[in-house]
């Protein structure tokens, strides 16, 4: 059952780049992404699924690069949320494989996933409002904002990595 859910999420991750650029050429990237991701889902391996998701992300970047559409934060938020759910579901399925899971445990997990997605969407909304306000204050600074945002995200990654690698008792 969890595998089916993970497959559905993988299909969402694969399909979203096609909404940007519905081109057969993009399938040259998306088919390997689906195969690798599908292998990860079948084997219940989060690292292999991550590899497939990374290829799908590259396909999304290629689609954006070729098509150059106006910024669509809805698709990006959907993709980010789908990636969160995909990896979490695969990881959960691996943990509970062959185990007895109480209905309360399943409900608790689904609640956690929903909260995480909702928090992600909320964060995107807040950042979008903040970004729009900043853009109104500082016109013609879109490129610089992207770079600053990227650097900020990169610093956040480093910070999170350092944070998660410290054990707390």
């Amino acid at each position: 059952m969890t595998r089916l859910g993970a497959f559905a999420l993988l299909l969402v991750v694969i399909a979203l780049p096609l909404t940007v650029l519905p081109s057969p050429q993009l399938c040259w990237l998306l088919v390997p992404a689906f195969l690798v991701g599908g292998l990860g889902v079948v084997a219940l391996s989060a690292p292999v699924t991550t590899a497939g998701a990374a290829v799908a992300l590259i396909a999304y970047a290629v689609a954006l690069l070729i098509e150059r559409p106006p910024p669509d934060l809805v698709v990006a938020t959907l993709l980010g949320s789908a990636l969160v759910l995909l990896l979490t579901v695969v990881h959960f399925a691996r943990r509970v494989h062959g185990a007895a899971v109480s209905p309360a445990a399943l409900r608790s997990e689904i609640r956690e996933w929903s909260m995480a997605v909702a928090a992600g969407v909320l964060a995107v909304g807040v950042l979008t409002i903040a970004g729009t306000a900043l853009r109104l204050l500082l016109p013609d600074a879109a490129a610089a904002l992207v770079i600053v945002g990227a650097l900020g995200a990169l610093m956040a990654v480093v910070g999170v990595t350092a944070f998660v690698s410290i054990e707390n008792d």
């Binding site: 980010g80 949320s81 007895a100 990227a150 990654v157 998660v164 008792d169």
Partner: protein, 424 residues
């Protein structure tokens, strides 16, 4: 209990790094937006958690079982704090199979809630089953952090060998002084009639044999053999064993020894046990149900202990190996040290029966079937048969494959009968 990040963090961070790199490369804000849910998820995963508290108790359906019987293990978990997701795994010891339920479970409990979890195990071979207690893992939100501990709650269940009651047991050549079920060669009070002799003063009238008296023209009495018990010493060779776990020649020997012990004890005999191997252990001869329990407890612990040292049965005290006892040795006769030990016993005129447990069947069970294996097994059988023919000049050897009923193997035993009456 310490929390540590899981591999899922690496997956999230990898995707964030890819998205940031691609976003910087393509100058598209969407790719930076993709990272936001991922980073929020990681942040949620590191949310502070209160120290968890719970009580876990375990109930076992039995403390003693026979091979292939089922053991029901029931855990009761009571939460003293909220436990969003808690995982339990009771590792299965070797020779134990999960028959029903799961030994791995996930729960989510609120403060004060209680959950019960049970599963059934089938124990396929005799041993001392030790359950150490479950591994416990607490999962943080989204599985991004975990904390592990072990609930130390050791429990032991004795898995006794499965054996069937034997109808015919090897008769001891010599008996002891206490009442029993074996006809003693000596004369005395009993129900087994023996020789007829002329009446002498002091003989009881009820022993007069009237038919012989009428035929011979003088009073004659029937002598009787008393029923006495016997000492039986079982020796199990633990120098070597072959075969798959739970079906080795040692397991077969233990089953045979247990069947004989139960059979002789039921006939009021005293039964002792000697483990001849890397460690020389013994159980003093005794009788009754308590002795059977002692013997079974010793039998289930028997295992091969490798050694180069040759143990001498002369080291065994006489009260453990009485000279008048019937000695029944179980061995695959693979180790010449054991062959020498039983040959020495036979040379001391000990009433000895060697049950040669065939190692060929158990060995074939672990060797892939092939024509070469068939030929090798046949050659091995012939070689052992020829060797046993030589050994039978001084030893009483009974061949047993460990599968057929032990009665059948013992029925094939041939040894010269000793005179029933003691010379006058």
């Amino acid at each position: 209990m310490s929390w540590h990040p899981t591999i899922l963090n690496v997956s999230f961070v990898t995707l964030v790094a890819w998205a940031v790199f691609l976003g910087a490369f393509t100058r598209r804000v969407e790719l930076i937006v993709v990272t936001v849910p991922l980073l929020v998820a990681v942040a949620i995963g590191r949310r502070a958690r209160p120290a968890p508290a719970w009580d876990l108790s375990r109930q076992l359906s039995a403390q003693r079982l026979v091979e292939d019987e089922r053991l029901r293990v029931t855990f009761t978990l009571r939460a003293h704090t909220d436990l969003p997701l808690i995982e339990f795994l009771e590792p299965l010891p070797p020779l134990v199979h999960l028959e029903r339920g799961r030994n791995h479970a996930f729960f989510s409990l609120r403060d004060g809630e209680q959950a019960e979890w049970s599963f059934e195990l089938r124990c396929s071979a005799r041993h001392q089953l030790r359950l150490g207690g479950p591994h416990v893992r607490l999962w943080g939100p989204l599985g991004l952090a975990a904390a592990e501990t072990r609930q130390r709650e050791p429990a032991t269940v004795a898995i006794y060998p499965r054996f069937t009651a034997l109808r015919r047991l090897p008769r001891p050549a010599r008996t002891q002084t206490f009442m029993g079920n074996h006809v003693s060669p000596a004369q005395g009070e009993g129900i087994e009639p023996g020789d007829i002799r002329p009446f002498v003063p002091g003989d009881q009238i009820r022993h007069v044999n009237w038919r012989a008296t009428l035929r011979l023209g003088g009073l004659h009495v029937t002598q009787h053999h008393p029923e006495r018990n016997a000492d039986v010493i079982l020796i199990v060779d633990t120098l070597s064993a072959v075969g798959p776990g739970g079906a080795t020649v040692l397991d077969a020997a233990v089953r045979g020894a247990a069947a004989l012990a139960a059979g002789y004890l039921a006939r009021k005999d005293r039964v002792g046990l000697i483990e001849y191997g890397g460690v020389l252990r013994w159980v003093r001869p005794g009788s009754g149900r308590a002795q059977l329990q002692r013997l079974l407890d010793t039998l289930i612990r028997m295992d091969v202990v490798f050694t180069y040292v040759t143990k001498d049965l002369d080291l065994v005290p006489a009260r453990i190996l009485p000279p008048q006892a019937l000695v029944i040795a179980f061995s695959p006769l693979l180790d010449l040290r054991f062959v020498k030990a039983v040959t020495d016993l036979a040379a001391r005129d000990v009433d000895l029966v060697v049950v040669a447990v065939s190692p060929i069947g158990p060995t074939r069970a672990v060797v892939p079937p092939s024509a070469v294996a068939d030929v090798a097994a046949r050659l091995w059988t012939l070689e052992r048969r020829a060797w046993f023919d030589k050994l039978r000049r001084g030893l009483t050897i009974v061949e047993w494959d460990g599968v057929e009923p032990l009665d059948l193997a013992l029925a094939s035993r041939r040894r010269p009968r000793r005179p029933r009456a003691l010379p006058a």
